[in-house]
């Protein structure tokens, strides 16, 4: 309807869209975080179950819900697969590009889906340490690129609504 852009998805994206892994809310989640909004057309909710072993915070289980396009669903799903079993510190290092690579590539116009998924995860990690009132030394004080861009996307749409009220 508006401008159209070809979106040749990878077979992996289609596969995860068809059969998403780790889908659905988690009742006994340690922490939950959401990034994006319905107005953006993109929203990811992430649920993490975290256990502490030998002073390390390990992601025991990760699930997601996604309101968004096929790429959005697939990036959220692949993220939960990639972080499962990792410590928060290890998982923090996963970038939006790692997700895209794992999916067999993302169309450039869909990079923001991957950024949003990582943004949601990093938001969950920060929320977790806020909750238990700790700040591990590896956790940067400044926002990472994915976190910043997630905020930007959310702010953009809020501005739009304020302007049109």
């Amino acid at each position: 309807m508006s401008s159209r852009i070809p979106l040749p998805y990878s077979p992996k994206i289609l596969e995860l869209f068809r059969n998403p892994k780790n889908l659905g809310p988690m009742k006994d989640a340690t922490i939950q975080a959401t990034a994006g909004s319905p107005a953006c057309g993109d929203m990811i909710s992430l649920y993490l179950k975290i256990k502490r072993e030998n002073n390390k915070d390990i992601i025991e289980k990760a699930t997601f819900e996604s309101y968004g396009c096929a790429a959005n669903i697939a990036t959220a799903s692949i993220l939960t697969e990639m972080i499962k079993g990792k410590t928060l510190e290890e998982a923090w290092k996963i970038s939006w590009k790692d997700l895209a690579n794992q999916l067999g590539g993302l169309p450039a116009i869909k990079f923001h889906c991957s950024i949003l998924a990582v943004g949601a995860f990093k938001r969950a990690v920060r929320a977790y340490y806020n909750k238990i009132k700790e700040h591990p030394s590896w956790l940067p004080k400044d926002l990472t690129r994915e976190e910043k861009q997630t905020y930007e996307e959310e702010e953009l749409i809020e501005k739009f609504y304020k302007k049109n009220e």
Partner: protein, 413 residues
């Protein structure tokens, strides 16, 4: 990343129902057959060269124009110009008229829901020649209020462009009434109507409407892509906007696309063969699909009007809590091909301007799906679509995070 792999992963659905006739579509076999000889048997010459193959091409062009003249009620074939798409015809209408009236300048009045091939050229006319583009509002079903319209027309109005049928939400505008209002206030107004979605679906006649310019597009009537038509009433000042060697068309340079025009001509003939029957069949399928959706899927909004003031082929519904692009992919896996009003394709966050103009919120526009039926669809096709829509939407809503996230949800819904 290869598209071949994507298609392989997609697989063959059990049945295919193509309902994305807004964006393009198949052409009936009769239309294909009408084109084939013009590629390598007859009329493959240039229509303005003096040899048999050229004259054959010219004859086809001439006949196609005569057919059009008859269908729209024009005076002569000199009033019909072929371009290579509806977008080009709209560009010629707006920019060609602006160019011819560049000394006069003034306002270009159009509705907020015009096709982008009208809105963007009007903006271009503003940049290039200093015209003032004005987009007038529509109500929540896409209708222009004649009283509001009247207030926008004055001595300074040079061009008015109002779509006869909106391409996304199917609103049928009362063009005749708007022409009367505009010409009553200012007889010099040049009135253009984009009839791409009206031609062969709504009964109209250019004389009766009183318009000066009118756009038709081949692929909107199951003709091949690559043919557009601009009707230009005799005496209307339009200048060519592309430059090059002119041939039969004095306003559109380049060699006329004879095989495609042969297909278009056939498509016109087929569409008008049983005009009333075709329209009532489309209307029946439209209503069946619309009712089936509303009866079987909760949380659905209809975009655009219902009943007689809606184009007979148009269904547009917003499936709340599901995102449009995901819906098109999910439907595709089930063999149902549609398009969405979503903007999930960019960070620009700009869904369909038509849906926003009728007051849809972003999240409603994102979940909007456009279906277009044709006389070739069957009851079984619609039954198949209706069997698949509820489970498809349910699956995506289950994946969706909206309902489980109260904080955000309440704010937007």
């Amino acid at each position: 990343m290869s598209v071949k792999d994507l298609l392989k992963a997609h697989g063959e659905p059990p049945r295919e129902v193509y309902l994305d006739l807004e964006n393009s579509g198949w052409v009936p076999p009769e239309v294909v057959n009408a084109m084939i000889p013009y590629f390598n048997e007859i009329g493959y010459g240039h229509p303005a060269i003096t040899h048999k193959k050229g004259w054959e091409a010219y004859e086809l062009l001439y006949e196609a124009k005569e057919e059009l003249v008859k269908r729209i009620g024009a005076d002569s074939i000199d009033e019909v110009v072929f371009t290579h798409s509806g977008t080009e015809a709209n560009n010629l209408a707006i920019l060609g008229t602006s160019l011819a009236n560049r000394d006069k300048k003034g306002k270009i009045v159009m509705s907020v829901i015009e096709h982008l091939s009208v809105i963007f050229p009007a903006e271009q006319a503003s940049k290039l020649y200093g015209f003032k583009p004005i987009r007038i509002p529509v109500d929540e079903q896409g209708f222009i209020n004649p009283e509001i319209f009247k207030a926008y027309i004055d001595k300074d109005t040079t061009i008015v462009s109002i779509q006869m049928v909106n391409h996304e939400i199917g609103t049928i505008q009362n063009v005749k009434e708007l022409v009367e209002i505009a010409k009553d206030i200012n007889p010099n107004v040049i009135f253009h109507t984009d009839a791409a979605d009206a031609f062969s679906k709504i009964d109209f006649n250019v004389k009766d409407l009183g318009v000066d310019l009118l756009t038709i597009s081949s692929h909107k009537i199951l003709g091949p892509r690559g043919v557009g038509v601009l009707y230009i009433r005799k005496g209307t000042k339009v200048e060519p906007i592309l430059r090059g060697q002119l041939s039969v068309e004095k306003l559109w340079p380049g060699v006329e696309n004879i095989p495609l025009i042969a297909g278009f001509r056939k498509a016109v003939e087929l569409a008008f063969n049983n005009f009333k029957g075709n329209v009532s069949k489309m209307r029946h399928l439209r209503d069946k699909l619309m009712k089936g959706i509303l009866d079987n899927v909760p949380d659905v909004l209809v975009n655009g009007p219902m009943g007689d003031k809606r184009a007979p082929d148009n269904i547009n519904t917003a499936f709340l809590y599901a995102e449009g692009e995901a819906i098109t992919v999910e439907f595709s896996l089930r063999g149902i091909y549609v398009s969405s009003g979503s903007a999930c394709s960019s960070r620009v966050l700009e869904p369909s301007h038509v849906l926003l103009a009728i007051g849809r919120k972003h999240e409603e526009a994102h979940g909007s799906i456009l279906f277009k039926v044709s006389r070739y669809h069957s009851e079984d096709d619609i039954d198949y679509v209706l069997e698949n829509i509820p489970p498809a939407i349910e699956r995506l809503r289950k994946i969706s995070s909206i309902k489980s996230n109260r904080r955000r949800t309440e704010r937007y819904f």
